[in-house]
Each structure stands twice: as structure tokens, then as C-alpha cells.
């Protein structure tokens, strides 16, 4: 069957969108994981570095959003006007919420610093509350970011609930590997982190298959977008091999053989970072739509 001659790549979003959706999702996942660790008292020493890393990523994501992608950065102040239906409004709200509650959550961890002593003491009774707010916002950010792309029905490659799920799971896999790396650097190796990464990588593989199924059985635009994506060597190498197969194989090997390798967590973090960015970037760049000609 001949391909329609009017399939065209969408022109609205370019790679900067992938950067800030990726950094924001990663930051949100980190803050949520930090709260979980803190709540279960797994390691209080890691709460501060994890939350601060998440906040820095959010700051980068926010900066990327405002300065590199908006045509009118100053007008970002109006971006909260349409929270009822706009994914961008929700993302801005979640970034703001995460930023404020994340700072209030992490401050009590630095009570030993003299200048922060009084404030940390005052905030300490509410730490769990602020942590919970930051964690919920962090959990929602990658979902809403995926939803932002999934909104346009005219771009079927994006228009699927698999995308928010994929963004969520890849963000948390990377967050877990990053935290695992921090623990490794501080001299502790947790096997449960490896198990978590294996579980999340298996979920990623499952969602990726469901996503490919959606494109295979979906409209012609989805098929064309997936076809273009799968023809990109960068996507195959960075996402399927480095970002998916490698973490699956390494985490399964570590878990089932009981092997401890000091380089494993940083290697997993780097591979999941590359894979996480590659999938977002390639999905965005290959969003194909068709002009609605009646012929």
C-alpha cells in the first residue's frame, strides 16, 4: 500500500522539550525516592543530597523551560492561568510545589549548620508533611509531563497512556540508580536497589512493548513515527541496548549471583540516563502528523 504523501513531522517541539521533561522527571523521582528512604528510615544521611540533587534538576528544568524554549520567557508568569486543562500549567504548579516543599523538607537535615539551626528546628515537626507534599508532586511530574505530550490527538505516536507510564518508570529507574551511586560512593551497597532497578527495567521493557504494539496497530501516523524512530541508530543504541538491555542484564546478574561491583550502580545510572533522554528525544522528534486532507 502506498504511504500517504502528506505525513509530516510536527514542528512545535524540538530537543529542548526532551531535556526539561527528562530533567524534571528525574528530579521529581529523586525527591520522591528521598522521601521514601526518609520515611522508612533507610538512610537519613542520604535525604539531603538526594533532595538537593532533585531541586537542582528542577531548577535546570525550569531554567531550560523558561530561557531556552519559550518564545516569551517573561510571560511564564501567566502559565498558571489554565490549570484546569493545560499540562504545562500543571507542570509549572508541580515544579513550584516541589521546589518550596522540597526545600522545607530538606532544611531540618541541615540543623547542624549554625545559620540554619533555628529554622531547621521550627520546621522539624512538619518535615514529614512537607516531604509527603514534595513526594506526591515529584511522583506526578513525570506523569503530567508524559500527559503533556499525550494530549494532542493529531499526533498518534504521542497520544497514548503508555507515554506517561514510560516517563514515570524510566524516571524512577534512573532516580534509584543515581541514589544507589550516591550510596556506593559513601561506601554502602544495597542489594535492594539492584532489585528495584531490575523490576523497573522489566516494567520499562513491558511498557515499551505495549508502546510498540500501540504504534503497530494504531493509525498510519503512529506507524510512520515508530518506523522513523526504529530506523534511527541513536535510538536503538542508546535506548534499547544501553538504556534497556544493559541495565536488565547487569541488574539481573548482580541480583541472582549476589555479586557486588562498585562500578555497577554508577554504570547503571549512566546507562539509564542515556536511555531515558534518548527515548524522550526520539519520541518528540519523530512525532508525525498528517494534514487532514479529505483525499
Amino acid at each position: 500500500m502506498a504511504k500517504p504523501m502528506h505525513l509530516e513531522r510536527q514542528e512545535a517541539y524540538e530537543w529542548p522539550v526532551a531535556v526539561y521533561l527528562f530533567l524534571g522527571g528525574f528530579g521529581g523521582a529523586l525527591i520522591t525516592l528521598a522521601f521514601v528512604l526518609h520515611f522508612f528510615k533507610a538512610s537519613a544521611s542520604m535525604t539531603g543530597p538526594a533532595v538537593l540533587s532533585g531541586l537542582i534538576l528542577f531548577a535546570l528544568a525550569g531554567a531550560a523551560l523558561v530561557f531556552f524554549d519559550l518564545e516569551r520567557p517573561v510571560n511564564a508568569i501567566y502559565s498558571l492561568n489554565n490549570a484546569k486543562t493545560s499540562g504545562i500549567s500543571w507542570d509549572v504548579i508541580l515544579i513550584a510545589l516541589n521546589f518550596v516543599s522540597g526545600i522545607l523538607f530538606v532544611l531540618p537535615e541541615y540543623g547542624s549548620i549554625e545559620a540554619l539551626n533555628g529554622l531547621a528546628g521550627a520546621l522539624a515537626p512538619y518535615q514529614a508533611l512537607f516531604g509527603a507534599i514534595a513526594a506526591i508532586a515529584g511522583l506526578l511530574f513525570p506523569i503530567i509531563s508524559g500527559g503533556l505530550l499525550a494530549a494532542p490527538a493529531s499526533i498518534p505516536l504521542w497520544h497514548t497512556p503508555a507515554l506517561p507510564l514510560l516517563f514515570l518508570v524510566t524516571s524512577f529507574a534512573l532516580g534509584l540508580a543515581y541514589l544507589g551511586s550516591l550510596f556506593t560512593l559513601s561506601g554502602t551497597v544495597y542489594a535492594s536497589f539492584t532489585g528495584g532497578i531490575l523490576a523497573l527495567s522489566l516494567l520499562t521493557a513491558g511498557i515499551s512493548l505495549a508502546y510498540l504494539e500501540h504504534t503497530h496497530n494504531g493509525p498510519v501516523e503512529a506507524k510512520e513515527g515508530a518506523h522513523r524512530m526504529l530506523k534511527t541508530p541513536r535510538f536503538i543504541a542508546l535506548y534499547f541496548i544501553i538504556g534497556l538491555a544493559f541495565p536488565l542484564a547487569l541488574s539481573a546478574y548482580l541480583l541472582f549471583t549476589g555479586t557486588v561491583l562498585t562500578w555497577a550502580m554508577p554504570a547503571l545510572a549512566v546507562s539509564l540516563f542515556l536511555g531515558g533522554f534518548a527515548v524522550r528525544n526520539c519520541v518528540i522528534l519523530n512525532g508525525v502528523q498528517t494534514y487532514p486532507w479529505p483525499y
Partner: protein, 198 residues
């Protein structure tokens, strides 16, 4: 209040682009960047020897339920009291969410270079002073003066008909109610006010 709409007869369109030129003159669209609010696309379809060439006039559909409006974070995209989808240039962020959401490819960025060029071309009478996402307004200023949109007024083959969709006696309403004129991508549920005869 009249619910104005447009019927475009593709059978009589000759692809002269007079509509594009009239629109550009009226609304100072950046023709120098090949950006248009309305344009006649020249589409080839099929595989040799069964090929065809079609002329398809494009324009904002001024949907009843516009996808672009729902995704706009600043409510810069809004519907006026007559139901036309417009952009508030003062509050537009230029985030392009509306461009991604519009199934009809009706929007473009009026960017810094275009603003500078518009100032050079039109001087003090330049209509566009700020970067924004631009689209068809259905020539609101002309409608207010009781005139047709520039594209319809200039079409030499009268391929663009404007009228009240709620007035059963109007040629536009007749074409729509008879099923002769149809909206594009009905499946998306956007409820376009622009209908095509093909």
C-alpha cells in the same frame, strides 16, 4: 447572534493564492518567512499511474471545541463572544503547545526575526509588535465592519462562502445541512466551523 462559518468549495479552487496574498496584506502575516494564516496546499496523491493533484485551501477551523485552547497554559488562546478562536498577544508565552495540539496545522510562530522584518516593511503601521503564536482571526476587524474575511472577499472563483450556519436560508447552512459540505477530521470531535466541498 449569527454563527458565522465558511464553506470552501475545493472543486472550483484554482490555486491562485489570491486568498493568501489578501490575507497577508490585511493581517501582515510574515510572507517573507513563508508563514501564512491561509494557504492553498498543492497535494499529490497516489502511486503512478493512479496519481492525482489536489488543491486544498487551509485555514484555522475556529473549532467549537478547540484542542489548542485546552492546552494553552496562559489562556492566551480564547474564544470571543462570537465563538471565534483568537490569541491574546499580550499573554502568549510562545510555548507552542497549541501548535502541537492543532490537528489542522493552522498556527505558526511570529518570531523575533518576523517582528523585525514587519517593522522594516510596515513601519509605524506594523500590527505585530510582540513575539506570539499567530493564526487566522476570521478577519474580526472586517467582520465588525460588516465585511467578509479578506480571503473570501478576494477569491476570484468564489470558492470561499461565508454565512450564518444557524440561518437555514444561508447558502453556507444549506451546503452543510445537505451533507455537501463536510468538516475535516470529524473523528477528533473538534467541531470545525469551516466546511469543505470536495
Amino acid at each position: 447572534m449569527a454563527r458565522l462559518g465558511m464553506v470552501i468549495d475545493m472543486r472550483s479552487c484554482v490555486g491562485c493564492q489570491a486568498c493568501s496574498a489578501a490575507c497577508s496584506l490585511e493581517n501582515q502575516t510574515p510572507y517573507w518567512s513563508d508563514k501564512w494564516r491561509t494557504r492553498v496546499k498543492d497535494i499529490e496523491k497516489g502511486v503512478y499511474p493512479n496519481t492525482g493533484r489536489h488543491l486544498v485551501p487551509t485555514i484555522c477551523m475556529h473549532c467549537e471545541d478547540p484542542a489548542c485552547m485546552a492546552v494553552c497554559p496562559s489562556k492566551a488562546t480564547f474564544k470571543n463572544e462570537d465563538g471565534f478562536v483568537l490569541v491574546d498577544y499580550d499573554t502568549c508565552l510562545g510555548c507552542k503547545a497549541c501548535m502541537a495540539a492543532c490537528p489542522y496545522g493552522a498556527r505558526y510562530v511570529y518570531d523575533k526575526e518576523d517582528i523585525a522584518e514587519a517593522r522594516a516593511v510596515y513601519g509605524d503601521s506594523a500590527q505585530h509588535q510582540k513575539v506570539h503564536i499567530d493564526k487566522c482571526t476570521f478577519c474580526q476587524d472586517r467582520i465588525a465592519r460588516g465585511m467578509e474575511p479578506a480571503c473570501a472577499a478576494t477569491c476570484p472563483t468564489a470558492s470561499r462562502m461565508v454565512g450564518d450556519l444557524d440561518d437555514p436560508g444561508s447558502s453556507v447552512a444549506k451546503a452543510v445541512s445537505s451533507g455537501l459540505a463536510k468538516p475535516l477530521r470529524q473523528d477528533l470531535g473538534t467541531g470545525p466551523r469551516i466546511f469543505y466541498i470536495y
